[in-house]
């Protein structure tokens, strides 16, 4: 019986080398697999690039200078998106308006995320009276309808870029407080936090280096999803005439102005609406992909 099995003997084994599998690289590898999210990401990158280089693409003045003789002109080679009811170049208005809309949305998201996460972390980690005070304060904020609340703030303080961000932050930080608090409540019971405490770590270190990094996935995903919501919300404010003061362009404002000419010049409504939909969609797609890519249970 000669069933000798010949196995390939590895030649002169090199000492194994281990490379750091960076978290970011891992997430990117998994994110790339999701086609929808990649489309969203490319679209979003394109939108952001256009907004950043808006001044090189089309001058801001084109969107401000009125030319009533040409009002409501349909799209042409000269004016890609046509002209609005005051004869202003819609392409310029949509692109420059996007800077305000997206800028406000992103900054408001970041600030509400920071404020909300900090409050949520404090409430969740310390519990007891601190938790009670923060959460009851939050209840007061949440008992007023968002839109009413933001309108009140904007009306009282005036419509400037900073005030818009402030108002939107006040409307949206409550989400993060609850989210982060619940994450912290469940995470501060886990064994590795317990183990870190047994190793002599203090509260601040435990929150910063153990709890928040583990809650980060959920926070980041919520943030990307919120950007889309705030873009829509900010447009709503603009639509209600509580956005940036005219003639400064803004997606919501353009739509609100286009309302009267919906039948005669639908392009005025179409392009800003399309811009909102595309941006919100792409941000949502990216958020979805991030959620899947960052979930450790889906690691493959």
């Amino acid at each position: 019986m000669s069933n000798t099995v010949t196995t390939a003997v590895p030649a002169a084994q090199e000492p194994m080398k281990f490379k750091k599998p960076s978290q970011v690289k891992e997430i990117w590898r998994r994110f790339r697999k999701n086609k929808g999210s990649m489309v969203g990401l490319i679209l979003l990158a394109f939108i952001v690039l256009v907004l950043i280089f808006a001044d090189f693409i089309v001058p801001y003045e084109d969107g401000i200078v009125q030319n009533l003789a040409l009002k409501n002109q349909a799209p042409s080679a000269e004016h890609w998106f046509g002209l609005d009811s005051y004869g202003r170049d819609l392409f310029s208005r949509v692109i420059h308006g996007g800077r305000t809309s997206l800028g406000v949305a992103v900054l408001a998201t970041i600030s509400s995320c920071i404020v909300g996460s900090a409050l949520g972390a404090i409430a969740g980690y310390f519990g007891g009276k601190v938790d009670m005070i923060i959460m009851r304060g939050l209840d007061i904020f949440m008992s007023v309808p968002d839109i009413l609340f933001t309108m009140a703030v904007v009306v009282a303080m005036g419509t400037t870029f900073a005030n818009l961000i402030f108002a939107l932050t006040l409307a949206y930080f409550t989400n993060y407080v609850r989210l982060v608090r619940s994450q912290i409540l469940s995470l501060s019971e886990v064994e590795y936090v317990e183990a870190a405490r047994a190793g002599g770590s203090g509260s601040a270190r435990i929150i910063i280096s153990h709890i928040l990094p583990n809650a980060m996935g959920v926070i980041i995903i919520n943030t990307t999803l919120n950007v889309a919501k705030i873009i829509l919300y900010e447009s709503t404010l603009g639509f209600l005439g509580l956005g940036m003061p005219p003639p400064a362009p803004e997606w919501g404002l353009i739509i609100s102005e286009a309302r009267e000419f919906m039948r005669t010049a639908p392009h005025i409504l179409l392009f800003p609406a399309l811009a909102i939909v595309l941006t919100a969609c792409s941000v949502n797609l990216v958020g979805d992909g991030l959620r899947d890519a960052m979930d450790p249970h889906l690691k493959s």
């Binding site: 194994m16 080398k17 281990f18 490379k19 750091k20 599998p21 978290q23 519990g127 886990v190 064994e191 590795y192 317990e194 183990a195 870190a196 405490r197 047994a198 190793g199 002599g200 770590s201 203090g202 270190r205 280096s209 153990h210 990094p213 583990n214 980060m216 450790p296 690691k299």
Partner: protein
């Protein structure tokens, strides 16, 4: 406090108090751990072993309160220390190894960073290079390639994770290591490996140890002294010889040994102790073991037994007089 002891627990009582009930988890226990020796705390689930360990490093859950007694570590009563001073003890002088290696490591931090964290907390003056050097030394000490410090916990097996956890605990060369069932979550072959490694490192570093386990085999292998815990009390304690040999034992200890399968005896089933542990919210007035004890007498229900001492061997049972001799008359 005796100079030879590193830790003395005197008359420690711990309760868990909620709105609805008060759980008496630990009831007046005494433990002394000699320098460079290992004390094994055995008992079934819920006996208060982990509560005792957590009281030592003062990490009881929020509802847990120490209601009496003292825990002296190198002459300092740990229960008197303010929280920030207590923190300098944790991980530095007293370290703890938790039961479950799967959940005791932070999944988003590389193992090297986790070891480095403890080192940095207790040695803030060390340079980055020195910390890294110590991380590598510590990993090598527990038998893991130092190059793996950049890996994340999910890239390690259970046994390796437990080694990392032990590395974290030993990174600052603590004087006392509390191991809370360090091998319970591992499979048997890995258990033996990890246990031998703990034993080896303990001898090499001269660490005193409190070994919490419900495995009498582990106790026999690595402990010097043993305390048998039941319903928050230490019912019998002594050296390993006192507990494993000799005739006079607490009925609970007898029961524990009876429940180990015997390789030599033919076709004899291990004898489980009948019944359950008493409800810790409502402990019996007399002996805590009375409901399950086959020698139970009238006095056992009425009076809490006194401590019987013979040399290093102590037990707490009405069957024995204060010198540890069996009272003949009451037998039955």
């Amino acid at each position: 406090m005796n100079e030879q002891n590193i830790l003395e627990i005197k008359d420690l009582s711990v309760i868990y108090k909620t709105d609805l009930e008060t759980v008496k988890a630990v009831n007046g226990i005494n433990i002394a751990i000699k320098k460079k020796s290992t004390f094994g705390l055995v008992g079934e689930t819920g006996a208060g072993k982990t509560t005792t360990a957590r009281s030592i490093i003062r990490l009881l859950p929020k509802v847990g309160h120490v209601t009496g007694g003292s825990i002296e570590f190198e002459g300092q009563n740990l229960l008197d220390l303010p929280e920030d001073e207590m923190r300098t003890y944790r991980g530095n002088k007293i370290a703890m190894v938790f039961q479950d290696p799967m959940t005791s490591l932070n999944p988003v931090m590389s193992v090297g960073d986790q070891i480095a964290e403890t080192i940095k907390i207790h040695n803030p003056h060390l340079s980055k290079e020195d910390v890294e050097k110590r991380v590598e030394d510590t990993l090598a000490m527990v038998g893991i390639l130092p190059s793996r410090k950049i890996d994340y916990p999910h890239q390690f097996s259970g046994g390796m994770k437990q080694r990392v956890i032990i590395a974290i605990a030993l990174a600052c060369e603590p004087d006392l290591l509390i191991a809370d069932e360090p091998t319970t979550a591992l499979d048997v072959t890995i258990q033996a490996q990890v246990l031998m490694m703990i034993k080896d490192l303990r001898d090499r570093l001269g660490t005193s140890m409190l070994m919490i386990t419900h495995d009498l085999g582990i106790v026999a292998k690595i402990c010097d002294d043993v305390g048998v815990m039941y319903a928050g009390e230490i019912v019998e304690s002594g050296t390993v010889q006192d507990i494993f040999e000799g005739k006079n034992h607490h009925p609970y200890t007898e029961g524990l040994f009876g429940s180990i399968p015997d390789l030599k005896a033919t076709a004899k089933r291990p004898q489980a102790i009948p019944g359950l542990m008493p409800d810790p919210t409502n402990l019996p007035e007399g002996c805590v073991f009375v409901e399950r004890c086959k020698y139970a007498m009238d006095i056992c229900r009425k009076e809490h037994p006194q401590l019987s001492v013979s040399g290093t061997h102590k037990l707490c049972c009405h069957l024995f007089d204060e010198n540890g001799n069996r009272k003949e008359a009451n037998h039955g």
